[in-house]
Symmetry: C2
């Protein structure tokens, strides 16, 4: 069987460069990595992951912890992360930490402590204090996306997007605008909380009354909550700022079922630019979670290369996309 | 620092049992594992994953390969797998192998060969011959879900569910029934192909003409394809057998936009029991992908414990749920 020396010779690089390229830690140029990988394949060399790990002190794996993968945002972020990790030759260990499950406790109590990863990406986990302590106790680089509790969190400015969404409706002439989302089962994620605050401050500044309807973070939850609040003609708002596109689309489906015209009788604006947004002509503040996943990997790789170097995180921007779910109020 | 001997003593088990319990390979009783884990926590013992892996020849990790995580079926399967792996103390390494991407090639050419897992679960990957060869060359237990090409695949009987869906519409009095799904960009997954065959055979047996409209595997794709085929009143079918609930729901949304009443003017039946199915009153053949993920882990753990023992796979059953998207044709 051929060894690393054969690979290095064929690729025309040093043994240590070949080793770095093959362990996939990503600190060699793409061109070199490709040359070494090609050489390794042509001599039939496959490094043993366990041996690599012990020798280098690295697992060549990045842990990703997120509360489930069924929401659009999380699935998109995960695909963005995976794509970049594949590119860098790194494995992805997934930890699905849904709030309030025994699995989440086991992840924080047992799984993380095994340190089967070089670094961790936390996505939308809204950690409790003791969970945050567990993560910091690992003493590994951590990058977070929309997670709350971490410095340098990669996220759009949630207060600001809700402000812009609310101002869009106010600019069209709406006064009776309701915020749909958050507070489901008495619980607010920090994203929901920030978006509500942005809405509330904007309503206050405009001298309009803030109004909230609680709602879970899914399309069916938006449907159910909206079906409820829209059925009473006397209290029905003319505009809805939804916490997310999934909730907004649920509200549009509910409105249509009730014979309420969107945007004629009701304007709805969301946040995300979900893959269904165009289908429902939804006006929204667009973000790109796939790019946020890629950015998290990039920042993590830089921190792995030099834990002490400051890595400035450029905050992702949201972009207003005006479609046909918002218009001036009727009459 | 306390060692494995301290843990074993405190838990009242042998060192080898404590080791097995802590490496999380799952061949000890739940009660013992809990006792050992509690003992380990109380003495502050955390095994080094790399050392464990080299010593036991095991990684305590299960690889999961699937074409993306954004579809409902894949996200649900992944959560079912994750939940069971957490329960068994095993890590999950995710390989996102979307068809036609460079990432997919890298996974099959480089990532799998590193063998950073004890066994592999393949979900819906429809492997090409050379991909299948790569997987078998690993010489590790593999369990597949809805994947095609593998023996003992865990899946509902796709030919049969389409037969039952078609018979449901025929039984209501429909003759002009179209199959929506598959063939997008000239490509058929084996699931799409089998469902179309079940539909076609049932139409043939009923003396009715089979009719197909190609469509990608997503809700927006179902919407776009249905908007197209439903806009011509002369050729419009009275019933649609959709390849999946996502496609069926897209078709219902398109019908509503066109003012076509469901089920009065058009009956639509799907396969899945997607989380939106109830919201759209969708009649469907229900399956439980989360349970399929859990079953795959169970089978894999048995094969890891004894690679030669036959593990009979009990095929998951689909269940007809009649809601309000299907009815006798008008007139």
């Amino acid at each position: 069987m051929k060894g690393i020396a054969d690979v290095a010779r064929l690729a025309g690089v040093s043994k240590s460069t070949a080793s770095r390229a093959l362990t996939g830690t990503g600190y060699v140029s793409d061109e070199t990595r490709l040359r070494v990988a090609t050489a390794a394949r042509s001599v039939g060399y496959v490094p043993s992951a366990s041996a690599v790990s012990l020798a280098s002190g690295r697992t060549s794996t990045v842990g990703v912890i997120m509360p489930g993968v069924t929401g659009w945002f999380f699935a998109e972020v995960l695909e963005g992360i995976q794509e970049s990790l594949l590119e860098a030759g790194l494995d992805l260990a997934l930890y699905d930490a849904r709030v309030g499950t025994r699995g989440r406790d086991r992840i924080f109590d047992d799984f993380l402590a095994r340190q089967r990863f070089d670094g961790l990406i936390a996505v939308g986990i809204d950690p409790e204090d003791r969970e945050l302590e567990r993560i910091y106790a690992l003493n590994r680089p951590v990058v977070s996306i929309a997670s709350g509790g971490f410095p340098d969190d990669i996220a759009i400015d949630d207060v600001d997007v809700a402000r812009r969404a609310t101002e869009h409706l106010i600019g069209l002439g709406h006064h009776h605008i309701l915020f749909l989302g958050g507070g489901d089962g008495g619980r607010w994620s920090h994203v929901e909380r920030h978006r509500f605050e942005g809405y509330q401050a904007t309503m206050d500044a405009a001298g309009a009354r803030a109004e909230h309807a609680q709602c879970g973070e899914s399309l069916p939850a938006g449907y159910a909550a909206a079906a409820d609040l829209l059925s009473d003609l006397r209290t029905r708002p003319t505009g809805i700022v939804a916490v997310s596109d999934e909730v907004a689309i649920g509200a549009i489906i509910a409105a249509r079922r009730l014979g309420i015209g969107v945007p004629h009788d009701l304007s709805v604006i969301g946040v995300d630019d979900h893959e269904y947004a165009e289908m429902f002509s939804l006006t929204t503040l667009a973000q790109d979670p796939r790019a946020q996943g890629a950015l998290a990997v990039e920042v993590l790789l830089e921190r792995l290369a030099d834990p002490d170097a400051p890595v400035p995180v450029v905050a992702p921007q949201a972009r207003l996309i005006v479609r046909n779910s918002t218009a001036a109020p009727a009459g």
